[in-house]
Symmetry: C2
Subunit: 257 residues, 2 copies
């Protein structure tokens, strides 16, 4: 069987809770060892954004937030905590849609996402304080750094993805997508390749990093599964340049905001 | 290693071109045999919509289409073939967005998708005729029928998905999603389950069938790969009732159309 006929995703075992200052690359490499996986060229490592944000100490203590008047008004409108709204606004360039219980914003990194990605699940609310967690500072850059570290330390070139689960227009349910990536043809351009009858494919660009992220997301789970890192082997495309921010459609080109 | 720590996707081998009247269940079972896969309970089979449409003879010969005046006007506006526009309109309940080169419609099955899913790639354009291919008639029902046939003939309960690749709001690139499914918790409801700190997850519904569809889509490719069926083993959720149409957000609940 050709290697590219089979894609194998493995959740890494026994990854401990991540705290501010922890080194994600070391955590990944230790977990690979523990799971008895020796990296091969072309492998991809998918890391949930949540442990990256925790390592970066992207926590915000809501008790220290003083909401603006606008945040109070918006909070009334969407029926959310005004302190949370203040944090969401500070992470956003624009409110894209709002409705009772729903606030969709454009994060300053370019993602259109509920609550600008500010997250209050799977967070240790210590000593009665309500903490929320922001998205990582620069997901593509963090992926690139992890990729380089792994290449330096093991000699193997792998792809790295930081994923998250976002809601979508038109469809119910969240799906995993790539917040950041390095070494992956994140937006795979098949234009000009032949179809099975030799006719040029006219418009096909594939959100490959998002498909990898979605696949890994199934194994990670959303609740108490504690499987924040997934190893992927058998990607049927070679590694290459490309970053997850290539997947962001600019507002000017987007018919849906 | 726990079975649910590993997800293995395998593209089935040597599937021939599909013609009108072919039996998809037989094609899948023959290909499983050829790939030396013996089905186990909980396995999922993902089938590209294209071979289902071909088996259903969902071809339309554009030379037999007489576009309406409205189709002509719309064709001028979006710079597409008026015969294609006529076919798209006949498949749609509503034009959602239009722009030069772009026509996003709500298919009468409920999908919001470019060109109402009418497809002109990987189609045998015989004898100079321009043919296009419509989406399958009733993807959830077809999945249910395939599932029942496989259960009757092998005694094994598997999940079935028919997938397609659609564009999205906000992000570049298409990703695989579930047009139809049977036996899968397509919209997985995790509300009320605990997070890792024992706090209830408040809003998490996962588009699980879409994540499986996206994962399989990577192995299928979009061009001349001829890998229209993917076998999935190790889904970390039990099979259950549920259908892909549960993933469709109603227009009334959708802030983005």
């Amino acid at each position: 069987m050709n290697a590219t006929d089979r894609l194998v995703l493995t959740a890494l075992l026994d990854i401990p809770s991540v705290s501010p200052g922890d080194d994600i690359t070391t955590i990944v490499q230790t977990a690979l060892d523990r799971t008895n996986i020796v990296l091969e060229p072309g492998d991809v490592i998918v890391i949930t954004h949540k442990i990256v944000s925790k390592a970066e100490d992207r926590y915000v203590d809501l008790d220290e937030i003083i909401p603006s008047e606008y945040a109070h008004r918006l909070a009334d409108e969407v029926e959310k905590d005004p302190r949370l709204i203040e944090v969401i606004l500070s992470e956003s360039t624009e409110v894209v849609r709002k409705s009772r219980g729903i606030l969709v914003a454009e994060h300053h990194l370019g993602f259109v996402v509920a609550n600008a990605g500010v997250d209050s699940s799977n967070i240790d609310h210590i000593e009665g304080h309500s903490r929320v967690l922001l998205l990582p500072t620069d997901p593509d850059k963090i992926c690139s750094e992890i990729q380089k570290r792994i290449q330096t330390e093991t000699g193997v070139c792998v792809g790295i993805i930081i994923n998250d689960s976002h809601g979508r227009a038109w469809r119910n349910g969240t799906v995993g997508l790539a917040l950041g990536s390095s070494g992956i043809p994140a937006l795979l351009d098949l234009r000009g390749r032949p179809d099975i009858f030799g006719v040029d494919l006219k418009t096909t660009q594939v959100g490959l990093a998002d498909e990898i992220a979605a696949a890994a997301s199934m194994l990670m789970g959303q609740g108490n599964e504690m499987r924040p890192v997934v190893h992927v082997r058998g990607l049927p495309y070679p590694l290459s340049e490309g970053k997850a921010s290539d997947l962001l459609r600019s507002k000017q080109e987007d018919l849906f905001r």
